[in-house]
Amino acid sequence: MLRLAPADNVAVATAALAAGQSARLDDTRLTLLDPIPLGHKVAVAAIARGEKVLKCGCPIGSATREIRVGQHVHVHNLKSDYFATFTRQQPAVVAKEPPT
């Protein structure tokens, strides 16, 4: 995985990763709670609801729920501060509950 700037609370997967897999991030490892497709984002710090998600050191939107380290960060838990993201499969991407 790749953290694009030191302040980022997400990293990106440079290959598809499976849930439960231990993935390398800089000098440490973290356990993935969700499957992460290539290029998608993983939380590498706990993110509170309403907190800005940082990638490349820049805010890319706000968390819509609490996000734990190792969880997939995407349209189910992150929203734009500019425009609502269009989803052509609306029911499929909402209400993805965190694993218990």
């Binding site: 790749l2 694009l4 990106v12 440079t14 290959a15 497709p37 290539l38 290029g39 998608h40 984002k41 990638k55 490349c56 820049c58 805010p59 890319i60 939107g61 960060v73 995407h74 349209v75 992150l78 929203k79 734009s80 501060d81 500019y82 425009f83 993201t85 269009f86 989803t87 052509r88 499969q89 991407v93």
Partner: protein, 400 residues
């Protein structure tokens, strides 16, 4: 590197014969004329609308006198609003062979197609016989677009295009980026790169105009495919898109049809001015290509993650594939495998070197992947623009 010297001093990297329909009603006849000559350098462009539009007439004049174009055949229905005489006169004054066919005056579909093909048959050998003159990298005008972006676009292909832009600008070439709606969130950083503070304010204002426009329409520049590819928000997409502009200072702000007066990096504002009219500013990637070509772009560096297949009429498209999985599925449609950076099969500098080499070979006549596959997409929508302000080109505009 060699190209086709034109009367206006510009040099083309192709010598196409363009057949242009001036309303959708003439599209069929124009397409039939082109069909047998599609692989011999005849390209189809046109404007579908019947109502007059100053933007469309300006873009069509620029495309009909584009450096990559050597001859022009206009196909009119007859009663549409497009000013065909003015367009034909502009082409004639540029020193290019031009012919106008009017379906209502020339005997309808079959006779017009036959007359058109006869003219193409007679004109193509003259174009093929034209000799080429020396050309330098500094003579190039290169545009960039991303289409079908995913989360890899901003990691691999877009930074490689940015570094290629730096290389071109350092050699006094002209590099043009656009997609102001995909610079949202980057506008202050962009403004600080302008050669004058006044230009910086114009650049930031262009991005904020795009935001207002998209807000009224209720949809940013974000397709569901972008989200499937791992991009979650408009501002995340912007971060990646912005990387295509490289790191050099911005020399000016253009609108479609403005010719960059000298080498350097330019932002092209493709979002219409005034009240929101005519719908989305860029209904698809090829609408952006038309605007870049109207500013004289010889070729377009096209970054794609999800995997776009498009090419373009008039200007070759160099496809830079950001995603290694996409590249494996669609290698034949791609020119550069930038996604290999993610699999440690190459560095950003190596991919940039390959892209620069591809740009120079394309300029020298080597067909790109989409050219070889026969792609010649073209679309020109309705838009309206105010002229650029005096701060937009600090060194003054180009002489016409």
């Amino acid at each position: 590197m060699k190209g086709y010297r034109r009367q206006d001093g510009r040099t083309g990297i192709r010598n196409y014969l363009v057949v242009a329909y001036l309303v959708e009603c003439a599209h069929h006849a124009a397409r039939e004329i082109v069909l047998p000559y599609r692989d011999r350098g005849a390209h189809l462009i046109g404007f579908a609308g019947c109502y007059p539009n100053a933007y469309a007439e300006r873009v069509m004049k620029r495309l009909a006198t584009h450096p990559n174009v050597g001859a022009v055949l206009l196909v009119s229905l007859g009663c549409e609003s497009f000013n065909r005489r003015d367009l034909a006169e502009t082409v004639r004054r540029s020193g290019r062979p031009v012919r106008t066919l009017v379906l209502q005056e020339d005997g309808g579909s079959r006779a017009t197609v036959a007359a058109g093909r006869a003219w193409v048959e007679e004109t193509l050998p003259k174009l093929h016989a034209m000799s080429r003159s020396d050309m330098q990298p500094g003579d190039l005008v290169v545009g960039t677009i991303c289409g079908g972006s995913d989360a890899t676009s901003g990691l691999t292909a877009n930074p490689a295009i940015g570094k290629t832009f730096d290389w071109l600008v350092d050699r006094r070439a002209t590099a043009i980026f656009e997609e102001t709606n995909e610079l949202l969130g980057c506008e202050r950083h962009l403004a600080a790169r302008a050669i004058t503070p006044e230009l910086g304010e114009e650049l930031a204002a262009a991005v904020l105009k795009a935001e207002r426009y998209h807000r009224v329409l209720g949809h940013g520049s974000f397709a569901w495919g972008n989200a499937e590819g791992g991009l979650t928000t408009q501002e995340e997409k912007s971060l990646g898109a912005y990387a295509k502009s490289g790191s050099r200072q911005v020399s000016g702000l253009l609108k479609p049809g403005d010719l960059p007066p000298r080498g350097g990096l330019y932002l092209l504002d493709v979002v219409p001015d005034g009240e929101v009219r005519f719908g989305f500013p860029n209904i698809c990637d090829n609408a952006e290509a038309a605007d870049l070509m109207a500013c004289g772009a010889h070729m377009i560096l096209f970054s794609t993650g999800c995997g776009s297949v498009v090419g373009s009429a008039v200007a070759p498209v160099v496809k830079v594939c950001a995603n290694p999985e996409t590249y494996r599925r669609m290698a034949e449609d791609m020119d550069v495998d930038a996604g290999r950076i993610l699999e440690d099969r190459g560095t950003l500098d190596e991919v940039t070197g390959e892209l620069i080499d591809r740009v120079l070979r394309t300029a020298d006549g080597e067909p790109t992947a989409s050219e070889s596959l026969g792609h010649q997409e073209f679309i020109l929508p309705y838009k309206s623009f105010e002229p650029i302000g005096p701060s937009c080109l600090p060194g003054g505009p180009a002489r016409e």
